[in-house]
Point group: C2
Chain length 373, copies 2
């Protein structure tokens, strides 16, 4: 269990192909994980995810703990059974949402005190709590409780947050009791070379089944993001899956795969859908644009999914303009399918030795305006 087999390494760049085994099945990497924040990828159920050929889902610990609580989900048989998803799941530690969503956040060595964004109730998350909650949820991969500093913090603050993250991972390891869950540590260190190096080495030394890079996509620009990633990467073990947290535009996926990243998650696919936005080979578009009112062409023939190929833009334009749930649903499925199609092509071209030319051709056509809505 939790074996990573490195199956192929590109000679063109750092990209690699691998396979990671979990109690609910194997994952072929590089892999994109759709986000099912509240135990559902918005508007989709397990059948929809199967049709999309989803390999692994991410669910959010913070949201599930605030409501309905990990204790209730455990009582219902755990996350897999409750949401009827019999394939791998990864849960985050709740850390990122505590900092970004909740109120009155107070960080100490012990953990994080905060008030729920739902009802103002006081909570405390410590590394021990984060592990206990994730053990109750029962995902295949669970994440260390870290301090994710926002973009632009001072080096002093970044160092303190990193040190705290290092102390906390030790406590996470001690608190962990389940053998059937893989714990991934998270490299921090903001945009500082020496901190990223130090954190990467520290986390690599723990010899856990995988390793994540956190603290990116927190407000910094594209260049800084990849600078920070590249500071850490040389120090990550080759024989473990490398997970880049919260990253998921088509451009980011291509560039991060080239750097040797294996796992990704991002809410963008479904969030864009709720705003009427969709990806095509030409970049990000919005279906509400009047040009689509009488457009009989499908969203994107390149993508092997019925939502992408079978409905006219005219019909989906109408659904979104009328606030019909089906419009959001079709665009959500399409955007996820688009990323899956991209990952499939990426894996194919890595193997064929044509990844860099695929990447360059794709990005040349793909308009770079692909940031979060």
């Amino acid at each position: 269990m939790f074996e990573f087999s490195l199956e192929f390494e590109s000679s063109e760049c750092q990209a690699r192909l691998g396979s990671f085994s979990t109690p609910h099945g194997n994952i072929k990497t590089p892999v994109f994980m759709p986000v099912g924040t509240k135990a559902t990828v918005k508007s989709l159920d397990y059948k929809d995810l199967q049709l999309l050929k989803t390999e692994i889902l991410l669910c959010n610990t913070y949201h599930l703990e605030m409501r309905p609580s990990s204790k209730l989900i455990a009582k219902m048989g755990g996350l897999h059974k409750w949401m009827k998803w019999d394939a791998p799941i990864l849960t985050d530690s709740g850390g990122f949402q505590v900092y970004s969503l909740s109120n009155n956040v107070k960080i100490t060595e012990e953990g994080v005190e905060f008030k729920s964004h739902l009802n103002g109730d006081k909570h405390m998350f410590t590394p021990e709590h984060a592990i206990a909650i994730q053990e109750r949820l029962g995902a295949d991969i669970i994440m260390a409780f870290d301090e994710c500093a926002p973009a632009g913090v001072s080096k002093e603050y970044a160092r303190m947050a990193m040190k705290r993250t290092h102390a906390w991972i030790k406590r996470c390891i001690s608190a962990k009791t389940r053998e059937d869950q893989a714990l991934f540590p998270i490299v921090q260190g903001s945009c500082f070379k020496d901190l990223r190096e130090e954190s990467a080495k520290f986390m690599a030394d723990l010899d856990l089944p995988g390793i994540a890079i956190g603290g990116v996509s927190v407000g910094e620009d594209h260049e800084k993001k990849f600078t920070a990633i590249n500071y850490a990467l040389p120090y990550l073990p080759k024989d473990k899956p490398r997970y880049l947290m919260g990253v998921g535009t088509p451009r980011d996926l291509l560039e991060a795969v080239a750097c040797g990243i294996d796992m990704f998650d991002c809410v963008l696919a479904t969030r864009l859908a709720r705003h009427g936005a969709f990806w095509s080979l030409q970049g990000r578009k919005n279906i509400k644009a009047s040009q689509y009112k009488e457009d009989l062409s499908p969203l994107c023939n390149w993508v092997e999914h019925y939502a992408s190929k079978e409905f006219s833009k005219s019909y989906i334009h109408h659904l979104i303009k009328e606030n019909e749930i089906l419009g959001i649903r079709l665009l959500s499925m399409h955007n996820i399918a688009f990323l899956f199609q991209l990952m499939k092509e990426i894996r194919y071209h890595i193997r064929e030795g044509s990844f860099m030319s695929f990447k360059n051709t794709f990005l040349k056509k793909f308009h770079s305006y692909d940031q979060a809505a």
Copy 2:
């Protein structure tokens, strides 16, 4: 085309089994038609409707004409192609919605002037317009433009509305040009015996491929509704499908089938879902009730659909409490599947000669609180 074959008549009551042929396939009656107001049964696409084994859909002319317009839909290839529904569709004439949704309604012999509920734009629907719009939409069954008087009108008013409806059906027939659409007339006459009889006879004499009873479920109580239906029924031809407009609680379906009705439509199944309500064999329930928070049982094992059988009430309770689209979607599929299951059992028991005992057993368990949300 548009042949109704009466396949079996119950010896217990007026219930019957039949089959109606349309350009997009045959419909087995009695049949329930889910409502896809704006060219989508809310939250569902053609694949979902196929999985539910939907035989025929209803779409609303008024909504589609207000936005995006029948002219646009015609340009896109018609309603079937646009929404990717390759099976029968029925469109209403828009009359009912003009009276119930729009503003500044002014009814004359010529037709109805009104202002759109969306933007206040002035419109005029006449029998000729209603036919032209429905010809552009391209449904298999189209409905006559009628005046649907609300519950409680005076006999004088009811007679005037009926007479207008009789004059208008003649104009509908003259206006109709497409051979591949069946036009159904609508019997009116409110709750008055002689008016219902007169209207039923008048419409029956037109010898059109089917016939509808309108002006029920417009605010009157259960008893009055069935009194009105029963005034008309003896005068309707046996060899034509009989459509009871806007009726669709489980109780109404059972009772109306016993009277000899063949076709039904109602928005209740999907509307209830949006409020968290669902049908079970015990009657209407609401999934938001705290008793379901930790309930591992499915919505209703009696119903042969994955939304009804595979998810726990606990999970759907959570989805609806969190305003997750998937909650509405699962309840919508379940409620439609519940009515389809009921219709399937009804057809089976009519054939077996056990319909009345099935009906009585069902209604004894089924709590009568099954009115609109």
